[in-house]
């Protein structure tokens, strides 16, 4: 399905949430931030709106009557609709976040979020998924040069050698590879690992990055894969591709 109408000046965003106050506050904010916005008060209405308007991106709350955000996402993907989806997740549950990515959400954000952060994420997802490529977030397998990540089996290889990685390092690698060329703050990556950010705990991110670099033999001073963004965080600097979709 083509979601990138050439006639559109501003990207069209579908915002689905059953909370009127959230729709009422976030909708206008997105409009002022340069998006055209349509809203839906539950999951089934959201699916209707996707059919009718073919938005460029959907922001779905996970908790909605009718069909919740994850159910909407599942149904979209089942019918081969790869419209970018940003899930508004519930609490900091690691399981939920892992599922969000596995089920093909392009990103997620915990409520209550900073609205500027939502806008930044929407722009990043649109940039990443532009040009009609298959979104990386929905691929079961990712590769970058000799590095290969099987997201379903949760295993990674460098050439033919399988990498020994802790589960957290693997989660971090997965997030980096599904968000290439994006400067990701330590806080953001900590949230990915732990479901919450913590002003003093970002060392945990540095430790896992160090583990990944060791396993990959990636030189921090002249990296092939993971760049350091000074004063901010990290970026997956190499090209990421997906094997051709089958079935």
């Amino acid at each position: 399905m083509a979601h990138h109408s050439q006639a559109r000046q501003r990207p069209l965003v579908l915002l689905a949430d059953d909370e009127p106050d959230v729709l009422g506050a976030v909708g206008p904010f997105l409009t002022r931030s340069g998006f055209d916005v349509i809203t839906a008060a539950d999951g089934l209405l959201a699916l209707d709106e996707v059919d009718r308007h073919e938005p460029d991106l959907c922001v779905l709350d996970v908790l909605m009557p009718g069909a919740d955000g994850r159910e909407v996402l599942r149904r979209l993907r089942q019918r081969d609709d790869w419209v970018p989806v940003l899930l508004l997740t519930q609490v900091g549950e690691a399981v939920e976040r892992a599922m969000a990515l596995e089920e093909g959400a392009d990103d997620y954000l915990n409520k209550p979020f900073d609205p500027h952060e939502l806008v930044a994420r929407i722009r990043a997802v649109l940039r990443r998924t532009g040009g009609g490529r298959q979104p990386l977030a929905t691929a079961a397998e990712l590769s970058s040069g000799t590095l290969r990540l099987d997201r379903v089996a949760r295993r990674a290889w460098l050439g033919t050698r399988e990498l020994t990685l802790t589960p957290k390092a693997l989660t971090l690698l997965e997030y980096l590879m599904t968000h290439p060329d994006e400067a990701l703050s330590r806080q953001r990556l900590l949230e990915v690992l732990w479901g919450f950010d913590d002003a003093v705990g970002t060392r945990a991110v540095d430790n896992r990055i160090a583990e990944l670099r060791r396993a990959l033999g990636d030189d921090a001073a002249d990296p092939t894969w993971i760049d350091t963004v000074p004063g901010s965080g990290y970026r997956f600097g190499a090209e990421v591709s997906t094997p051709p979709r089958t079935g």
Partner: protein
């Protein structure tokens, strides 16, 4: 004579046997009583643990409900505050309006922060955690390095002591990130609640061959006696430290992390003299 002897002997034997039997019975009774007492103790401990677990689960449910009920209005509030700020930009506006909008934005951020802290505590109490060998001595070095960058830390006298002899500190089994968070909380607390020129001592030791103890002691302001009883509870803040920014979640988190590692926490403090907090985690064997 012979007969007397026999009788005496058998009498003595009978008495001996009776005594032995009595002793045995007494012993069995004592043993039974002990076993019974032990079983009772175990049952009581199990009941206590179960009650604690049930309380934790019930609190986690409450937090999830609270989180769920608050996250939507807070999302709306934060977004509305950001919108008001944008809409007012470039407009002629009074300082009063500007102040009001800034307050709405700032306060809603604070509530969101608090909610995130409560959620974090519930998460630490219930989530599945890593159980890998962790070298607390190496971790402690990182923690002290990190804490030295905290505001005010440059004016504290830091000493760190980690045993090398007769053997290095044993490892513990657990989640490195969580243990790092716990230790960092303790050291940054010591910085926060002390003044320029105060001493902060970080000590690692092996206790009874079974525990690794990390102690963070300071010559800071200490904790009032009344506050010491509740210092491990979430949202508890000392009555005299309201001026120091903090959520009152630090020590609750430290305790939760220690408990998740089958460990325990201890606190000694005297107002105006200083505070020592110890975290004890079961040791698993020698480091490397």
């Amino acid at each position: 004579m012979d007969q007397t002897l026999v009788v005496t002997t058998s009498l003595a034997g009978a008495i001996g046997l009776a005594a032995l039997t009595a002793a045995l019975i007494a012993g069995v009774v004592v043993l039974t009583t002990r076993a019974h007492r032990r079983a009772l103790e175990h049952a009581r401990a199990a009941a206590r643990a179960e009650a604690a677990e049930a309380a934790a689960a019930s609190r986690a449910r409450l937090l999830i409900r609270l989180d769920h009920e608050l996250k939507n209005p807070l999302t709306a509030l934060r977004t509305a505050a950001a919108s008001a700020q944008q809409l007012l930009a470039g407009e002629e506006r009074s300082a009063e309006v500007e102040q009001a909008v800034a307050t709405i934005g700032g306060s809603s951020r604070r509530i969101a922060r608090l909610l995130a802290d409560l959620r974090k505590l519930a998460d630490v109490e219930t989530r599945e955690i890593d159980r890998r060998p962790v070298d607390l001595a190496a971790l402690l070095e990182l923690v002290v390095d990190d804490a030295r960058t905290a505001p005010g830390a440059e004016d504290r006298m830091f000493t760190t002591s980690v045993p090398r002899a007769p053997w290095p500190l044993p490892q513990v089994r657990g989640d490195e990130d969580l243990l790092h968070t716990a230790l960092l909380n303790l050291v940054t607390n010591a910085v926060k609640y002390s003044a320029d020129g105060d001493t902060i001592e970080v000590r690692a030791s092996e206790e009874a061959g079974a525990w690794v103890a990390i102690e963070v002691a300071d010559t800071g302001r200490g904790i009032a006696e009344d506050d010491q009883r509740v210092v491990w509870d979430e949202l508890s803040r000392g009555s005299d430290v309201r001026s120091i920014p903090g959520s009152g979640m630090g020590l609750a988190l430290v305790k939760a992390i220690a408990l998740r590692h089958d460990g325990r926490v201890e606190l000694r403090s005297r107002p105006r003299e200083g505070t020592s907090v110890r975290v004890l985690i079961p040791a698993i064997g020698p480091a490397r």
